[in-house]
Symmetry: C2
Subunit: 490 residues, 2 copies
């Protein structure tokens, strides 16, 4: 099939393409017309979206509602990406992203739009919190620290907020102290900021819990951006009125399923994308199922994995450097089932946290509203997940149950079911929740994170200014990429 000279995409001018590339004329490497040889068997769409996580789903939905012909290509046999269905004691649960909070407004809107329901995170009773080999108990999600430690804790949090509050989400690399903060790890900052060894371990564990990366792996500048992106420390860390306020009664993966139902035949699973080539007229996307030619492509994958596609012409170097220096976090999510939530009768709310291996967030209560089975949900995070990934589920179960017994007593010893999701072993995510920037990256190549490359636009939670790394951020990134693409038709 010869290239049609008069196609709709011809309305995108060369100058517009240059703008899209964010490059000077000298650097433009797009061939005039090159795909003829490969495209004979290609189907046609207006926009091809790569990856059916929330970012890709929402980008596709927006474009389809705007009248564009879209195809959403997904490598797996399911949609949802890092939101995934699992089963424990015959019950559907989320083995990926699950919680939603009050300022995650795009996710809340989407849940509401499809008539799904929120369930508040259970926290009635005492939690147990372990820090520096000591255990504390307090009501709800309180930490139960002594006054002095509490005051020091509050001081460190205030310091963090003082630094993160002024960060401009669209361009964190522009602040006056950007270089200083970017060349420093979060761990260094914690060590310099508090002399309380117990709290130091707590903050390290907390960083592992929210970033699924260790404090010594992350740039302080990136971390401050991340805090601001999700409001602040208290919002990211907390449950009630915070990022872990509610779960979705029908499960979070049902939300993804609903969007996919609306998209209908536009969704194609089992269609891993291997190559994307582009010229001045179109993009050609090669998947395991078939080839698609389109005006534009939106790549909505975990950022580091997006560089594993074969791009022609090759990605601009700064984009590739960004992908290389922004590894996925490591986490294993587990569910443990008992006949009923017996810990409640003992006055516990099931919330267990610790600064010791292998889990910061050992457990939260995930029991359904009808009161049984009793479910606990927890995570192995950061370097602990690196140590436990690839091992057998039996080995992990043994360790998890041992920890539960140590906190809740012998009744925890014989769960009726155990299930976990080893995210680093998933070839299409290679980690979870999101990717974090290592030191020195935000100030050198960070600014290319949302910069389109010719006819290719970028989505995925890592590219979001707001709620970066969360489902809400993924949705916002899909909104943005769809809007960028639509604007190019005008």
């Amino acid at each position: 099939m010869p290239i049609e000279k008069e196609k709709k995409s011809a309305t995108v001018s060369r100058r517009e393409l240059l703008r899209g590339l964010g490059l000077g004329t000298a650097a433009l490497a797009l061939p005039e017309l090159s795909q003829t040889a490969h495209a004979a068997d290609a189907a046609h769409a207006d926009v091809v979206i790569v990856g059916a996580g929330f970012a890709g789903l929402m980008a596709a939905r927006t474009l389809q509602r705007a009248g564009k012909k879209v195809v959403l290509l997904e490598a797996r046999d399911r949609v949802g990406g890092r939101v995934k269905a699992g089963k424990i004691a015959e019950r559907a649960v989320d083995v990926g992203g699950m919680w939603v909070g009050p300022t995650q407004t795009r996710l809340l809107e989407t849940i509401k739009e499809y008539g799904l329901h929120l369930t508040p995170q259970f926290e009635k009773g005492k939690n147990i919190f372990e820090m520096g080999h000591k255990r504390y108990m307090a009501e709800g999600e309180g930490l139960g620290l002594d006054k002095e430690t509490e005051a020091e804790y509050e001081r460190v949090v205030r310091e963090l907020t003082k630094l993160s509050d002024p960060i401009p989400l669209a361009a964190p690399w522009t602040i006056a102290r950007a270089q200083e903060f970017d060349d420093m790890t979060v761990d260094e900052w914690f060590r310099a900021t508090t002399k309380d060894k117990g709290l130091l371990e707590f903050f390290r564990a907390w960083t592992r819990a929210i970033c699924t990366a260790d404090a010594y792996q992350i740039s302080l500048l990136y971390f401050l951006f991340y805090l601001k992106s999700g409001d602040n420390f208290e919002m990211l860390f907390g449950f009630e009125n915070a990022a872990q306020a509610w779960t979705v009664k029908e499960t979070m993966h049902r939300v993804a399923g609903k969007i996919a139902e609306e998209l209908g035949d536009a969704v194609m699973v089992g269609a891993a994308v291997r190559a994307i080539s582009q010229d001045t007229a179109s993009v050609l996307v090669e998947s395991d199922k078939r080839k698609w030619r389109a005006d534009f492509a939106i790549v909505a994958m975990p950022l580091p994995l997006s560089a594993r596609i074969n791009y022609q012409p090759p990605l601009p170097p700064q984009r590739d450097i960004l992908a290389q220096h922004m590894p996925m976090g490591s986490v294993i999510k587990y569910w443990v089932a008992y006949e009923k939530p017996w810990w409640r009768e003992k006055g516990f709310n099931g919330m267990l946290q610790s600064d010791e291996a292998p889990s910061q967030f050992i457990a939260g209560d995930g029991t359904p509203e009808e009161g049984k089975p009793g479910l606990l949900v927890g995570f192995m995070e950061g370097h602990h997940a690196m140590n436990w990934t690839g091992k057998s589920m039996e080995e992990r179960k043994k360790k998890v149950v041992e920890r539960l017994v140590s906190f809740l007593g012998a009744e925890a010893a014989n769960p009726i079911d155990y299930e976990d999701q080893d995210w680093p072993a998933d070839p299409w995510s290679r980690g979870c929740y999101g990717a974090s920037m290592t030191p020195g990256i935000m100030t050198t190549v960070g600014r290319v994170i949302r910069e389109p490359y010719g006819r290719i636009h970028w989505a995925g939670s890592e590219t979001s200014e707001r709620w970066m790394g969360y489902i809400d951020g993924a949705i916002r990134s899909g909104d943005r990429a769809a809007a960028e693409t639509l604007a190019r038709y005008k």
Copy 2:
């Protein structure tokens, strides 16, 4: 073509495969026989080697000399990998790896074997060395520091050597202080070790020069290993009797060419490998040129890029985590030509170093033995390369010449030629010289670096114990991978 049941590779037992996987039985995921559907049009070799840098070339040579039928698949249209031919003022030069030192014995042997010649690095006359906005001059490669600074410099170097000397190259993660050193950046260590601000900048710049990564990006444990791998600080940093002692008169890329000539038809260029699948009987390697079935594959690519191949079954998670947390260094190498080496007449040896942007190693004298043209060779390293990659050669030339004028005077202003190699923009290296480990990686997943995955063995300079990141290390890794593979036929 149906799978032949009685093939030579059947001598590799299932138990042997398990050992090769470094995994318990539970984790073994290799399908019994699966490739039938894909392999109908596959050619056959005993071993397929992916990547024709020095590692792949040497692995292929060793196997071929041992009587194995090998095929060496190279994505580019040339061999040599990060050793590459360039031209300046009509003269062939190396725009990639170039130097060789006295303890790089495998590289020295190879150069000698092919009858090629060494040229000592020119250093007669004064060098100029800039530190903390001051300039020093000294004979040869001396730093010309004042006594007090010199003493502090020596002290820091001694401290480094004291820590790196006991590192066991095969398993750096086993030392007593492994965790402490791995969770710390090199920058932190330098800051904690010296209060001399000038020297601090010097050590930062020196780290950028030898690792092409910034001190705040690298694990201290990895760095200590790297120092030991290349003997010690003085060896890595120095010229005479050190890692930059000689160049190859006929160019280093001729060495790669000689090995390729010996390999003959076994080398196939323009054959980027896109997928490697394996089952209990064989591997199937899919390249842009054709498919190959073999008993074993050796992947001899830059480590982070090796994860961009589509593996079936997918890579074990710890290998993928390693690839994600071991980004390529960033460097741009440039050559500047003048009619003659006029700086020599002024008493300079052309060696210029600085702790200021964009180059630590601004220049060394690369003039050929016959005395003309006068050539200077230098590098932009680490975050400076991240800032300069993707720009036009004209822009970089302007900056480089400006720096040369500032050090050597107005005569430097009008070179007769300029050439550079933007390594991060090269899609098949995506950086140079090598990849460095970020904090916390060596102690978690570092031990899988040479661990075969079923029928796949790993080569490439990043996998070498000795001279890791150097050409000599690449050769040694090829030796090792070839020996591992041969051992599996026994």
